[in-house]
Symmetry: D2
């Protein structure tokens, strides 16, 4: 047992922290101004191209990817780097080509893609030239129960024909989004667990209509490319667009979800850290009733609790990352679930307290806190609501022999 | 002691509930569509005029005002009616001419206004023909400590000349906003408590510049008329525009704040009730893992706790309203403070849980939950943050003889 | 709607507060000393007789009983008086002959008892000459589900013969305990709801063995007469000892539970008030780091929150009492359930915070806090655990039309 | 970074878990029976001697001590072993000679003791032949502020003469307790931080009177040897009994407190684990309303949250232990403080929830839960209340440069 990052990770953290602090944070205001005056609503702010170029130059590109083309980091090594990108979740992940949902999509392509699929989609994604989205959630069914996915993927000669409606397809509206990975039913009569498949759908295929982007707590999430509600109306793609084995859509998606949840959690840790940095600075400098807020016992208690909570949450994520590396995502699933339950609620609490210490400014666009809060709130629902994860954690307890020798370390 | 509403209140509640349910709730979608296609960003949706006309016809107009021109209700009588308007906070209060900040402003004019001021401003406000705003909070100082207000109001011949910057001036941007009540320093050398005054400033006076509207958790609060950041640059108004006694600005404002806090709290109770109604309905109809959410123990516990919390919070508000009626706002200030601390956090909790039960839809514009949440979050900061109210409550405890005979009922 | 106690109640509160403060609180230390040196472990401390005599003289006797022989108070009138007895839960309720479980037992006898039963048991109970207990909970089954009660009550000629095991029979060990009301199965083949009956069993009947008294968080609850685990081994009593209709044991017990829960809740409010009084006094007088604890923001926030929580909880109990008076216990059951969920957890929180402010003294016998905490903890389980009450509250929500017109006041 | 225990630790854990499960847990009931019938109230139950002999035989003795005579384990290595002893806090730590306060006292003697002191006290302590106590807290002053310690230690010829009153001297009443380490003022006129010293006082020295043992939530803590309130009335000991440098009592005690807090925290983790094991087993086997409690969503959520919380808390303790090993207690003080705030409240929550799932049995002596709860409650106050630790954590945040590069890993 050892709680120190490796020298390799420390070196990358040093470099990345410097990049985030000196390049990304100052770019936030510029990006906001660029977007405010931009004619194409869903394009990236021009400064993003500069950030991406700088990240590439500095070897801070595709850090997320363990496979070829990426940095070859383990989950445990990548986690503290993902955390640093969470300080500026609208800019930093994309600047490093480490933003969801592209990361998960690239992992799927790297692992399950055919040579053609890799050439057509993975290569430009790894270069940051295009974007992609993952179309899974449907508006009419409870997505906490994934088996509810109903979009129809029918065979017709050499093609798949997709018919159905999806929403919360994050990044769908980005102007450089080129491809959707769409989950649907290819084999309705197969046994449960073998009915769904994933198909690659170029976004300019006839029949694909993005009806709108849903908001999150009032935010349009332009940076992320919104959250598309998409109608797939008899959308026809070649059979070669099947991604991974037919009927194994959930198994394929699962491979994507474990690391994805951990990445989300690590970014949330970074968001919480930024909230702590902001409220600490505010407390030091804001005077009320004749003394700085930092002298108030309640403010001190809040900041101390924030420190305790975020440190505990980080350790839980790192442990899950470590276990994924050592035993694989399946064995690590309960540690991932624990992190997924703990981290968003922790980040919510911290960011909300920071807003309170800031007063009105904390709710407005004058601080990033409200945006950070909406991210944390969103991630409490995305990737499975808490209740589903809690149930599986409880079942693991019930399944264990309740003996002292069995207790986890 | 009696927990039943009076027959008079029950009758008004019946009528108002019918109005909100059958007129206001169906108007929400229409209003959203009208705003979406409206050229003037800060105007009311056209359907508002219909709602106002209907409310007037049905005797549901100016219910808030105990004085002449209002309904003559006590705070205790008005409270459950304000609650009902909280079900649709963007439409219902304004439809009844009972929306903040106009209500508080009308109360000030009714109580402190000269005959001329009443004719010029109170009369059209009571008719719902114009809007008004209250300009108190300043960006550079901690507004938890009200004595920090710095805007300069200098005498110059027969005029006042105002110079300073305000923000969070709610409703400032409404196109029919005509007048700002501005708090500032008229007597910098007077003893504390006698330095500030309130001056009426027509919004078209030269030197008044609304620089922007601040957002709340990503919401622009168009319905409310935004929250203006306003520069007052040597704004000149006649001395007759002084509202209330010179140097007594805080005492005057205080008269406004007690009932105002209670009105806010009652509307929040209504918002929480709407969240409960929404999540209850969702739980009854949404099926996951083969059974309705309503059969899940965790969902049941959440809804039960929501019921318990909102009922307790409502009683605390009603008690404060009753005490204001019986002993006056000053004697009721601790009961008001207790309600002010309890209600926003209660509403936040309930609405957040409702969002969780709805999943993605709960965060988006497809339900009113995200908007309701932003209202509750805002009101936890507005009118004094929790910490200030807690301190005064604690001091009241310390000041009491700690004897059993002194305990409150 | 009116939040003032009636003049009649105010007068009784005044008298009772004086009694508790000047007679009961000073008796606590004396009673502890008397018990410490008492040869008979389960007898009352001698000072109790003095307190009872004084209460009788002052007209503070049997306040709980609405029927003949009692004070004729409504639940709403009695509630604030029960609260005052909660300041000293080990002495004050018994001093007034208002202690559980005798109060509930007397109510049952008053309502369902035959003339003989009344003469034999009710009369001496009303005089405070004997004690009684109620034997319902069984060790081997989940008592959250009352239908689990299994003790066998067989007919044998003119007798009932009881066989089974009970525990948590509070007051069973009191040396002046003379009678147990025992719930058991008389009609195993009847429809559910008609199987159980209640039988009066003199505690000296052969076959009644009290095996032990269970502790609560380390407390032996001597004052209360402990919590007996009792074996009923072929205990024979005459058929005339049936209390209430045969097969209607639960309906009879239910009549006892509604007011009983409210009495418990009101006493808990008093316990929480005593904790607030204690911690307030401590905060005023204890100096750490150069200033009184009362100057610490965290202490202030704690005391303010305690005030808010206890006031809200009290209002919920009073509302339930009022509704019982106006519409009966059945109609009031959801208000009772809400109070039952809210009050013990509120009291726990407040008392725990008071312990923290006191430090070590708060945990020890030097303050009543630890004992008060154990009372609150016990009452969170007694009379139905939270989860059962939450479920019934949720079902009430699901059953309501989710329309604004239906919302409760 | 690595979350696996070393093979050496795994081997010890295996052996110790087997010992706790098969030797200690079955001994709990026997020990309780032995104590119930024991004439000398404050002696160990006879079975303790068997347990100690067995532990010695198996190499499970003095695991806590890094110095000569101990197991030579680091804090990080010892932590998971201390955790296992927390499953049975009244027996296991003493069986291994790893119980507070002896562990801390042995560490002080090992580090600061003279050869004579070591021979006289350390040797028999290491053998488990005698017990010791640490007399620091005083009843009349706030012990959250350690500089308040007032007991007078005057020089008189070759002797120290001690006069003062202490309480919460844990283990003072154990019949085999032979020595108290007493903190007091030797140099009242020295600068703050140089006034206090620690003196070894044999408990049979004239003038030492143990007036009573204070209880904790109704528990007498017999196993631990109670918590003595001790009068030191002109107690005379030779100057050679000074432990550590004169005037450096706090610095010496501090060396004891860091590891001590971590040991306490680790045992609390074990207590929480036992509560989880108990409630999980209960949920699997207890049937209510026709199905096992384990099928209830609320029970599942509780158990899942318990798992998440205890795992997060454990990681925080392990991290603090690791940092103590790597950088020393002073550098690790904020990590220790964080663990000290987090762990007792976490354990309290988990144990309280377990009690609720058990119902009445959970509050009584039929499960260890109530005793475990009292341990957790005690440790939230012992070794510094939360508020003091929170303040120092907040100050560390304020002192840090709020830059991303500074954030902790």
């Amino acid at each position: 047992m050892d709680f120190a990052y490796s020298p390799k990770v420390e070196e990358l953290r040093e470099k990345l922290a410097e990049f985030v602090q000196n390049r990304v944070l100052p770019a936030e205001r510029i990006a906001a101004q660029q977007l405010a005056s931009k004619p194409d609503f869903w394009g990236a702010p021009p400064i993003m191209a500069d950030l991406k170029a700088a990240a590439k130059r500095q070897g801070l590109w595709n850090l997320f990817l363990p496979e070829d083309g990426g940095a070859g980091l383990t989950n445990l090594e990548y986690a503290p780097l993902a955390e640093l990108t969470g300080w500026s979740p609208q800019l930093a992940p994309e600047a490093l080509n480490c933003n969801a949902p592209d990361t998960g999509n690239m992992e799927l392509l790297a692992r399950y893609g055919t040579a053609d699929q890799k050439q057509q989609w993975l290569a430009p994604l790894l270069e940051g030239e295009i974007r992609s989205c993952f179309s899974m959630t449907e508006p009419d069914v409870a997505s906490s129960d994934a088996s509810n996915v109903r979009l129809d993927i029918a065979e017709d000669g050499d093609d798949w024909v997709l018919t159905g409606r999806k929403w919360w397809t994050t990044a769908a509206l980005r102007e450089d989004n080129r491809v959707a990975m769409v989950m649907g039913v290819t084999d309705p009569d197969a046994p449960a667990g073998s009915r769904h498949s994933i198909v690659l759908v170029p976004t300019d295929t006839p029949g694909v209509t993005i009806e709108r982007s849903t908001t999150v707590l009032g935010f349009d999430d332009r940076h992320e490319g919104g959250h598309g509600e998409i109608v797939y109306d008899r959308v026809r793609v070649p059979k070669a667009n099947l991604l991974g084995p037919r009927g194994k859509g959930f198994a394929v998606a699962q491979a994507r979800l474990g690391p994805g949840r951990i990445h989300h959690c690590m970014r949330l840790i970074g968001m919480a850290e930024r909230a702590i940095a902001l409220m600490t600075e505010r407390a030091r400098t804001r005077v009320a009733f004749g003394r700085p807020l930092a002298d108030e016992g309640v403010v001190q208690a809040t900041i101390a609790d924030a420190r305790i909570k975020v440190d505990a949450a980080r350790l839980m994520v790192l442990r899950a990352a470590w276990r994924m590396d050592v035993e694989g995502p399946k064995q690590a699933r309960h540690h991932i679930a624990a992190a997924k339950v703990l981290v968003p609620s922790t980040a919510k609490w911290i960011i909300d307290e920071a807003m309170q210490i800031f007063g009105g400014a904390g709710l407005s666009e004058d601080t990033p806190l409200a945006m950070l809060y909406s991210q944390a709130r969103f991630l409490q629902i995305a990737d499975g609501p808490d209740q589903v994860h809690r149930r599986s954690l409880a079942r693991a307890e019930f399944a264990a022999t309740p003996a002292i020798r069995e207790i986890r370390g």
